[in-house]
C-alpha cells in the first residue's frame, strides 16, 4: 500500500513535470544542444558521422519521442484545466500541440518503416533494373557449393561511419563448416600495393627511386623491384633496371662489359667457381668451349638472332635481324652430366631453370652489339646486398659506383635520380588502407572489409571492397568446395522493372532554367510497359510504394556517368503534412491573439486610457513581501524584492 502510494505520489509528480512547459523548455534545450553537437560533428567528421551518432541514433529518436509525450501531456493538462476552469478553449496552443504530435508521429513512422535508397542506371544507354540500393545497410554474401547445390547466406549489417578499432571483430556466422569473421573494417578505403621488407629473405630486391631536377624538385617517384631475372621501370623518358646478381664475378660484366670486341654474334661470359671466362661467339656455334681448366665445357648449340618461343617448347628465330639474340647452350659437367641452358642478351639473368627444373652451376652473361643501352640507370645488387649503379647518358655509360640510400645519381640534362629506399628482399603488400575523405566528396572511396574465412582448421584473410566492380567479389577454393564471397549494399526490390531510355534533348536555353530530366519506363514482370514518363525534379515518379526523384543534373558534357534516382518510401507523409498545417494554423492563431493583446495593452498604457481590470494588471502591486510586475500580456509574475524594495 505504501509502495502504491509512493508510486502514485512520484508518478503524479513526474506527470506534472512532464505536462509542464518547464519540461518542454528542458527538452527543447537538450534538443538544441544535440543539434549543435550534430552540426559540429558534421563539420569535423562528416555527414555520415552526424547521421550515425546523432540524427539516426536511438537516443535522438527517444528525445523526439519524449517531446511528443510532453506535448501530449501538455495538451491533456490543458484540456483538463479547461474543464476545471470552464474557461475558453486555447485553440491556438491546442492546434499547435496537435500538429507537433502529428509531425512527430509521421517522423516516427518514417523512422521505423521508411526506406531511403538510390537506383542508378548508366546515362545514355538502354538499361534496366528491378532493385534499388539501400545505402544504410551492407550485405555480405557467402555462396557455398555443397553436394546438394549452392547455398547462399546473406548477412545484413550496419557497419558504421568510422574505421573499426584494432581488435574489434564481427562474427558473421558459419555455414556448412565454413565460418566467416570480419576482422577489419575501413570506412573510406583506398587500394594500395607497395613493397615492404620480406622477412623470409627469399624475394628479390626493391628500390624506391625519385627523379628530380637540378633544384631537387620531384618529377616522379616510383618503385623498382626485381625478380631473380631482374626488373625494370620507366620514369618519364628514362628507363631503369635492377639486377640481383647471383654471383660476385658478374660485377665485372656489369662494370666493364666488352664493348670493343663484340663481333657479329657477341661475347659470352661464363661464371663458374668464383671466376669469369669470356669467349667470343663468332665461329663458336656448334663447338664446345672449355670453362677454363675446370673440366666443364659449354657447347654453343644454336644462335637465334631474333628469338621467339615456339609452340613446341623451344625457340625459333623470326628473322636474321638481331632483334632478340639468344644462345642455346649445353653444359657438360665433369661427371658427364649435361644440362641445357639459354643465354639471353637482353635479359642476362634470365634462366629457364623454372621450366627445366635443373639448376645450372655455370652462370652466363651474353653480351651482344644489338643490345644498346637505354638512357637511365642500371642497378646491380650483389649477393651480399651491396648496390652498384651505372648510368647511361647520351649513349655513353658512366663508371659504376656504389650507391646507398640517400645517394643522388646524375642522369644528365639537369636530372638526378635519388635512391629513397632500398629493400634487399622485398615483397608486395596489397590491401586497403583508410583514407581521409573531404566533405561532400561522395562515396568514391568505398568501405573495405578484411574477412577471415576459416575451414578445416585453416584460416584465410581476404580483402573486399563494398560495391567495387573489381574487389567486391572473391573466390576461395576450400576443401569443402569453392566459396564465393561478396560485399555490397543491401538491394531491395522495386516491385517492377525500371528501364532508362537514352536522353532526348533535355537542355534548357538561356531564359529557361535547367532541370534534371530523365526518360524512364516502368515494365512489369511480363515485359509490358506500365508507364512511360519523363522524370524532372519537379515531377518525380510515384509508382507502387516508392517515389523516384532524379538526384543529379543532366550534364551533356559527361555522357559516361550514371543517372541516379533517390528512391523513398515515407509512410508518415500524410501525418507530416497534416501536422505542418495544424502547426501553421495554431501558431497563427496563438501569435495573433498575443500580438493583439500586447498592442492593446501597450497602447492603453501609453495613452493613459487604462481603467478597471487593465489598470490593476499594469500597475505593479506588492503583496506579502513580493513584487508583482505586469508582463506585456498582463500575466503577473512574482519577484522577490531586493533589500531596497521593502515597502
Amino acid at each position: 500500500m505504501v509502495v502504491l502510494n509512493y508510486c502514485r505520489v512520484w508518478g503524479g509528480r513526474a506527470w506534472r513535470f512532464l505536462a509542464s512547459s518547464r519540461c518542454t523548455v528542458f527538452i527543447l534545450l537538450v534538443l538544441a544542444m544535440a543539434l549543435v553537437f550534430g552540426s559540429w560533428l558534421e563539420l569535423v567528421q562528416g555527414r555520415e558521422h552526424a547521421q550515425w551518432h546523432v540524427y539516426g541514433a536511438g537516443w535522438f529518436a527517444a528525445l523526439l519521442g519524449l517531446l511528443g509525450v510532453n506535448q501530449l501531456a501538455v495538451w491533456a493538462g490543458r484540456m483538463a484545466g479547461r474543464r476545471e476552469r470552464c474557461g475558453g478553449w486555447p485553440v491556438g496552443e491546442s492546434l499547435a500541440s496537435a500538429g507537433l504530435l502529428l509531425l512527430l508521429l509521421g517522423a516516427a513512422q518514417a523512422y521505423v518503416w521508411g526506406v531511403q535508397g538510390t537506383v542508378s542506371l548508366p546515362r545514355g544507354q538502354e538499361k534496366e533494373t528491378d532493385v534499388f540500393r539501400d545505402p544504410s545497410r551492407s550485405v555480405i554474401t557467402l555462396v557455398h557449393s555443397t553436394p546438394r547445390g549452392k547455398v547462399s547466406t546473406e548477412i545484413v549489417a550496419a557497419l558504421g561511419p568510422a574505421d573499426w578499432d584494432a581488435g574489434r571483430e564481427l562474427d558473421l556466422g558459419a555455414s556448412h563448416g565454413v565460418s566467416v569473421r570480419m576482422v577489419k573494417y575501413v570506412r573510406h578505403a583506398v587500394h594500395y600495393c607497395e613493397w615492404v621488407a620480406d622477412e623470409h629473405s627469399y624475394q628479390g630486391p626493391a628500390l624506391l627511386l625519385r627523379l628530380q631536377n637540378a633544384r631537387d624538385d620531384e618529377v616522379a617517384t616510383q618503385w623498382l623491384a626485381a625478380a631473380p631475372s631482374g626488373g625494370e621501370a620507366i620514369l618519364g623518358p628514362t628507363g631503369y633496371q635492377l639486377w640481383p646478381l647471383p654471383v660476385t664475378t658478374m660485377l665485372e660484366d656489369f662494370e666493364r662489359p666488352p664493348v670493343e670486341s663484340l663481333g657479329t654474334f657477341g661475347v659470352l661470359s661464363m661464371h663458374y667457381q668464383g671466376r669469369m671466362y669470356r669467349v667470343p661467339i663468332d665461329g663458336a656455334v656448334g663447338t664446345q668451349l672449355p670453362v677454363g681448366e675446370t673440366g666443364v665445357a659449354v657447347e654453343v648449340v644454336h644462335y637465334y638472332p631474333d628469338a621467339r618461343p615456339s609452340p613446341q617448347g623451344g625457340f625459333y628465330s623470326r628473322s636474321e635481324r638481331p632483334g632478340n639474340p639468344l644462345l642455346e647452350l649445353k653444359v657438360h659437367l665433369r661427371d658427364g652430366q649435361t644440362m641445357t641452358a639459354w643465354a639471353f642478351a637482353k635479359r642476362p639473368l634470365l634462366t629457364m631453370e623454372g621450366v627445366t627444373g635443373e639448376v645450372c652451376p655455370v652462370r652466363f652473361w651474353y653480351h651482344h652489339g644489338a643490345v644498346t643501352p637505354t638512357p637511365g640507370a642500371d642497378f646491380a645488387q650483389m649477393p651480399d646486398g651491396m648496390l652498384y649503379c651505372r648510368t647511361t647518358v647520351h649513349d655513353y655509360r658512366t663508371p659504376v659506383r656504389r650507391v646507398q640510400v640517400g645517394d643522388t645519381v646524375p642522369l644528365g640534362s639537369q636530372f638526378n635520380l635519388r635512391v629513397l629506399q632500398y629493400l634487399p628482399h622485398a615483397r608486395q603488400d596489397m590491401g586497403f588502407r583508410s583514407v581521409a575523405v573531404s566533405q561532400g566528396a561522395g562515396d568514391r572511396n568505398e568501405a573495405a572489409a578484411l574477412l577471415e574465412l576459416c575451414y578445416d582448421g585453416t584460416c584465410q584473410q581476404i580483402w573486399l571492397q563494398r560495391g567495387d566492380p573489381e574487389y567486391r567479389f572473391a573466390s576461395v577454393l576450400t576443401s569443402q568446395g569453392r566459396v564465393m564471397l561478396s560485399f555490397d549494399y543491401r538491394k531491395l526490390p522495386l516491385g517492377y522493372t525500371l528501364r532508362a531510355c537514352p536522353q532526348r534533348g533535355v537542355l534548357s536555353d538561356g531564359d529557361k532554367p535547367a532541370t534534371a530530366v530523365s526518360n524512364i519506363e516502368l515494365v512489369d514482370e511480363e515485359g509490358r510497359v506500365l508507364r512511360r514518363q519523363t522524370l524532372t525534379a519537379s515531377q518525380p515518379l510515384q509508382a507502387g510504394l516508392y517515389r523516384l526523384c532524379p538526384m543529379t543534373k543532366v550534364n551533356p558534357q559527361r555522357s559516361d556517368d550514371s543517372q541516379v534516382w533517390a528512391v523513398t518510401y515515407d509512410p508518415g507523409r500524410i501525418a507530416k503534412y497534416a501536422g505542418c498545417g495544424l502547426i501553421l494554423i495554431g501558431l497563427s492563431i496563438m501569435l495573433w491573439r498575443r500580438v493583439s493583446l500586447f498592442c492593446r495593452l501597450a497602447w492603453s498604457a501609453e495613452a493613459g486610457e487604462v481603467s478597471g481590470e487593465q489598470t490593476d494588471r499594469l500597475e505593479p502591486s506588492i503583496t506579502q513581501g513580493r513584487v508583482l510586475v505586469p508582463s506585456p500580456l498582463g500575466r503577473q509574475r512574482a519577484r522577490s524584492p531586493s533589500r531596497s524594495q521593502t515597502p
Binding site: 512547459s21 527543447l28 534538443l31 538544441a32 543539434l35 550534430g38 552540426s39 546523432v54 531511403q116 583506398v190 633544384r215 631537387d216 624538385d217 620531384e218 583514407v435 575523405v437 573531404s438 561532400g440 566528396a441 572511396n445 534533348g505 537542355l507 534548357s508 536555353d509 538561356g510 531564359d511 532554367p513 535547367a514 532541370t515 525534379a537 519537379s538 518525380p540 526523384c549 538526384m551 543534373k553 551533356p556 558534357q557 515515407d570 507530416k576 503534412y577 502547426i583 501553421l584 501558431l587 497563427s588 501569435l591 498575443r594 500580438v595 500586447f598 501609453e606 505593479p620 510586475v629 508582463s631 506585456p632 500580456l633 500575466r635 503577473q636 509574475r637 524584492p641 531596497s644 524594495q645
Partner: protein, 619 residues
C-alpha cells in the same frame, strides 16, 4: 534663410540625380570598351555579355569590382582589364595551330608582361599565406608570383615550386587532400585559368556552326583561341564567317597595339557584328535589348545606389525625428521610397536578364530582405507614428543591400533555379518569399533592438527613459518577431514540402534546416518568455540582438561551412573570419549594454528605490 532651408533637400536630390544619370565620359585617348562589353559569350551555363563575365571573374579572383591600370594608375573596368590582357597576349603573334596547342599545355610565363605582374588573386587563407611566405600586409598575389612561388613542405628537403606541387596533388586522390593542399591546388587552378583566359581558350564566343548550340553545352561553343587558331577553309567554313572573325580580331589587335584608336573601334564593331551574325543560328542567343539591359544593370549597379540612398534616408529621418525638422523627415521618406523603387526595379531587371528567381543568390536575398524590412518598417512606423522606426528600417535595408552589392556575393555560386511546375514550384515560391519576409522581419527587429540598446547605453535615467523607449521598442520588436516567426515557420514547412516533392525527403537534418530550426525555436522562446512576463522591453532587445546571431550563423553554416548544392564559398579566397568578427562584436555590444543597464539601474535604485519599483517594467 527659410527658403534656403526648404530648398536644400531638393538641391541635394537634384545633384544626386545628376550624379546618377551622368556617366563619366571616357577620355578621348582611351579605347571605347563598350563594344566589347556587349559581346555575347557563354560561361557554360548561360549566354551573357562579356561585361558580366569579366566582372564575375574579377570579383571572384580579387574581391574587386574594378582595378587600376598598372601603368597609368587609371581605374579600369573589368572588361577593359580583360580585353587588354587578351589583346596584349604574346601568343597571338603566331596563330598557327601547333603554337596555339603548345601554348595550351604550357604552365609558364616565358615573357611576363605588366598584367602578369598585376596582383590579381586575393589570398586570405592563413595556411596558404604562410606556405607562400606572404607579408602580413600583402593581400593579393600576381600570376608571376604564383608561377615563381615555392612552398616549404615538411616531408621534403627543400622548397618545391607551387605549380609542380599542385600538378602532383592533382594526380592524387582529391578526397584525401589536406586543406592547405586544396587551397594550393585551387590557386594553381586559378593560374591555369588565367593562362587560358589570356590565351582566349576559355572565352567561348561563337556558337559552332551547323549544330544546336546551347549555353550549357560549352563544347558546342568555339573559343576565341579556336576561332583564331583553326586553319579554316571552304570545307569547314563555307561561309567564310570564321575567317572574317579571325581577321577582324587580329586587325583589332594590331590597331590596339599600334595605338590607332579609330581603327581599333572600327575593327571592334565589325567583330561584334560578325559575332552576332554567327550567333543567329543559336536559338538561345539573347537579343541586343536584353544584352544592353544586363550591361546597363552592371554599370548602373542599382543595389549600390539603393544602399547609399537608404543610408541617406536613414540619416535624414533620424535627424528629422531628433530635431523635429519636418522637411528633413519628408526628404528621408522620399529618399526611402526612391531607394525601394530602385531596389525593386533592379531586382526585376536582374531576374529578367539572368533568369534567376528571388532566392537564387546572395544578391537576390539581400535585395529581398531589404525590400521586406523597409516595407515592414514603414507599416510599423505608420501604425505607431514613430519615424525613428523608419530610420532603423532604412539602415537595416542599407546593410542588407551592401551585402548584396559586395564582391563577396559573387563568390557564392547561385542556386540553379527550377522550372515553375505544379505544387513543387508553388511551395518553392512560398518558401522563398516567406523566408525573405521572415528574415526581413528578424533583421528589422535586430535593428530596432540595437537602436534601443544604444539609447539605453547613452542614458543615465533608467526608469523613466527606459519605460518610454520600452513601450515603443517592445511593441515594434514584438510585432517584427511575430511576423518573422510566422514567416520562418511557413518557410520551413514549405521548404520541407518542396524537398519532399522534388527529392523525396521531407526532413533530412541538413545543416541549413537544423540551424533554421534552432533559430526558430530560439525566437519562439523569446516570444514565449515575453508572453509569460519573464522578459520585458530590455530583455526583449537583448535576446533579440543575441538571437539574430543565429540567423547569421544559419547563413554562415549553410554558405561557408557545410553548404548544400555546391554553394560553399571558396575559403582560400575569402576567410570567413569577418562573420565571426561581426558575431563577436555584436555579443560584446550586448554584454556592454547589459552591464551598463544593470549598473545604471543599481545606481538609480540607491537614489530612489520607490521610483524604480513603480516604473520598472522595462527589464
Amino acid at each position: 534663410m527659410t527658403m534656403i532651408v526648404r530648398a536644400s533637400p531638393w538641391v541635394f536630390a537634384l545633384r544626386l540625380a545628376m550624379a546618377l544619370v551622368c556617366v563619366p565620359v571616357a577620355a578621348s585617348e582611351s579605347p571605347d570598351w563598350s563594344t566589347w562589353q556587349h559581346l555575347r559569350v557563354s560561361d557554360g551555363e548561360r549566354i551573357q555579355p562579356l561585361d558580366s563575365l569579366a566582372r564575375t571573374m574579377l570579383q571572384r579572383a580579387s574581391l574587386w569590382t574594378s582595378i587600376s591600370d598598372p601603368g597609368s594608375g587609371e581605374p579600369l573596368s573589368a572588361t577593359a582589364l580583360y580585353v587588354q590582357m587578351l589583346l596584349e597576349w604574346h601568343g597571338w603573334d603566331d596563330v598557327s595551330p601547333g603554337v596555339q596547342h603548345a601554348a595550351a599545355g604550357s604552365l609558364h610565363l616565358p615573357y611576363p608582361d605588366r598584367w602578369d605582374r598585376l596582383p590579381l588573386w586575393r589570398v586570405d587563407a592563413p595556411p596558404l599565406r604562410r606556405a607562400l611566405g606572404l607579408q602580413p600586409d600583402q593581400r593579393h598575389i600576381s600570376p608571376l608570383e604564383v608561377s615563381r612561388s615555392k612552398v616549404q613542405l615538411r616531408d621534403r628537403g627543400g622548397d618545391t615550386p607551387l605549380l609542380i606541387w599542385a600538378a602532383q596533388l592533382a594526380a592524387r586522390n582529391q578526397e584525401s587532400l589536406a586543406p592547405l593542399e586544396r587551397q594550393a591546388l585551387h590557386l594553381a587552378g586559378e593560374f591555369r585559368d588565367y593562362l587560358d583566359w589570356r590565351g582566349g581558350r576559355q572565352l567561348k564566343c561563337v556558337p559552332r556552326q551547323g549544330r544546336s548550340a546551347t549555353p550549357e553545352a560549352g563544347h558546342e561553343w568555339l573559343s576565341l583561341s579556336e576561332v583564331v587558331g583553326t586553319p579554316w577553309d571552304s570545307t569547314n567554313d563555307p561561309l567564310g564567317l570564321m575567317r572574317s572573325l579571325r581577321d577582324r580580331f587580329l586587325a583589332a589587335r594590331r590597331a590596339y597595339l599600334a595605338g590607332d584608336l579609330n581603327q581599333f573601334d572600327c575593327a571592334s564593331m565589325d567583330l561584334r557584328d560578325l559575332m552576332s551574325q554567327a550567333g543567329r543560328s543559336c536559338e538561345a542567343y539573347p537579343s541586343s535589348r536584353m544584352l544592353s539591359a544586363e550591361v546597363f544593370w552592371n554599370q548602373w549597379r542599382p543595389f549600390r545606389w539603393a544602399w547609399i540612398l537608404f543610408l541617406l534616408a536613414a540619416a535624414m529621418t533620424a535627424c528629422g525625428a531628433r530635431k523635429d525638422w519636418k522637411w528633413c523627415r519628408r526628404s528621408g521618406w522620399t529618399l526611402a521610397v526612391s531607394s525601394l523603387l530602385v531596389v525593386l526595379v533592379g531586382l526585376v531587371l536582374r531576374s529578367v536578364v539572368t533568369g534567376r528567381v528571388l532566392v537564387a543568390g546572395i544578391s537576390e536575398w539581400g535585395a529581398g530582405v531589404a525590400s521586406g524590412a523597409v516595407l515592414l518598417g514603414w507599416t510599423i512606423a505608420l501604425l505607431d507614428r514613430r519615424s525613428w522606426i523608419m530610420s532603423v528600417a532604412a539602415l537595416v535595408a542599407a546593410v542588407s543591400l551592401w551585402c548584396a552589392d559586395s564582391p563577396l556575393a559573387a563568390l557564392v555560386l547561385p542556386r540553379q533555379p527550377l522550372t515553375p511546375d505544379g505544387i513543387a514550384a508553388v511551395s518553392w515560391i512560398v518558401h522563398g518569399i516567406s523566408l525573405s519576409l521572415g528574415l526581413s522581419a528578424l533583421a528589422l527587429a535586430w535593428g530596432l533592438a540595437n537602436a534601443a540598446l544604444l539609447r539605453w547605453l547613452r542614458t543615465d535615467e533608467v526608469p523613466i527613459v527606459c519605460q518610454g523607449i520600452g513601450g515603443d521598442v517592445a511593441r515594434a520588436i514584438h510585432r517584427c518577431l511575430t511576423i518573422g516567426v510566422l514567416c520562418l515557420v511557413t518557410g520551413l514547412v514549405s521548404g520541407a514540402i518542396h524537398a519532399d516533392l522534388t527529392q523525396g525527403r521531407f526532413w533530412s537534418w541538413q545543416p541549413h534546416e537544423i540551424w533554421l530550426l534552432l533559430t526558430l525555436v530560439s525566437y519562439m522562446g523569446i516570444l514565449q518568455a515575453a508572453a509569460t512576463g519573464r522578459i520585458a522591453a530590455f530583455g526583449l532587445a537583448v535576446c533579440n540582438a543575441g538571437c539574430f546571431m543565429l540567423v547569421l550563423m544559419t547563413w554562415f553554416v549553410a554558405t561557408f561551412l557545410l553548404g548544400a548544392d555546391g554553394r560553399r564559398m571558396n575559403l582560400s579566397v575569402a576567410s570567413p573570419g569577418f562573420v565571426l568578427l561581426i558575431m563577436i562584436m555584436q555579443l560584446g555590444y550586448v554584454s556592454l549594454s547589459v552591464y551598463r543597464y544593470r549598473r545604471v539601474r543599481e545606481l538609480a535604485s540607491r537614489r530612489a528605490p520607490s521610483v524604480l519599483i513603480a516604473n520598472d517594467t522595462s527589464r
